[in-house]
Amino acid sequence: MSPHTHIELEHAMPEIDSGTRFRKWVTVLVGIAAATAGVLAFAEAEANRQKEHGLVESARDAQQIFVRLGANTQLLQFSGNATREALAVTLQGAARVRSSKPGQPRAFAIAVAQADMQASARLLAVVKQMGAVPAHTSGLDPRTADAVRSSVASAKALLAKQNAAAEAADRWATRQEYTIFALGLVAIAVALAGLAGLMGVGRPGRIAAATGSIALVFAIVWSAVTFLT
């Protein structure tokens, strides 16, 4: 045999086959664990990104719902109060006529009632004008205009969006937590592989390597199920 020919140790010495196979086992375990850790780190980062995005969207949508309801309520409250005041003006005139006694100037009561009725109609129109917020009011930022003009129906649509964002955040949070657990299993697998390497071929080493392999396979299956369901 030429001294330059490269030969594998296991081919030259068949009696150490088991030791070589054990070494291969451990190196495969460590290598796959490292590759799995790389993929899981990305999966965890992505799950965290989606979860945080869902939470941020959910928080912003919730805030917008309250602002829209709050801003619109101010306008509705003013319009309601002003409408009641305008209607009360008519009632005041009518009451004055009905309560006028003989000897009192009935013509005056009728004239005041007519004036009140005309004033009431004009005031109702004023309430409508004052309560209007055109979509493009000069100087008013569109988001404030939208908030004041919003309705319960539009808030419902935003509420559906907020709920969807919260549910997405919840789903991705579960995936992130499961991925962290899988990363923990990978770390255990690597530690057991290192321990198996130190123990060497033999019963304790094989038990450590087998346990590490099971942990690694479980981590991979667990992660796959988590992201595919």
Partner: protein
Amino acid sequence: MAEAQGHETHTSSAVLLAVAAVLAAGIGAYAAAVGDEGSDRWHDAVRAEIKYGAGVIEDTRFVYQEIAPQAFQVISATVQGQELSRQARRARDPSVRALLQGEAGAQELLGRFVAQRSGIARQPQYLRPGPTYATARRLAAERNRHPALVTLDAGEVEHEGSQLKEQSSLLFASAIPAAFAFLCGALAHGFGTWRRRLLPLGFALCAASLILALIVELSF
């Protein structure tokens, strides 16, 4: 010589493992820092949304609960005064006319008093002929008293955070080839027959990882 070659190959495996580990750790650390910055921007977006919303609520409350009712009171008295004056002009009985004129004068005076005491008179540009009151324009003026609050754009801040978070995720993804390079290094150590193919592949994966990370960094 074969021993020397084997030693050199084992050293190459160790170098590959070290390079892959350092590269993956480095890219991972940078990706984590970028992701953290993205999270900060997202939290800023929520803060901006709350601040903006608080401004909207306070300004609408002030305009529709403080200003508008007072303006309506002024308009109500003025309109009632105008209608009473009209009835006074139509009245044939002098005593009724005098009473109506007195009532009209009282209403008009009430309107002026309320306008002066409430401050509505100090900003006559919102009182319009009719009379009516430009409430929406008054709200715009109130909002624009604090332009920094109006220009707060939580959506834009959130977008900045989203960009950073996407960059972070892609950086983590670009570390995956380095993790597979580590797998090549480990297999090269355990499987001598594949070593000559695995080592170049491992170094190529390391280079790919680095290039991908640089592309991601330059793209954002």
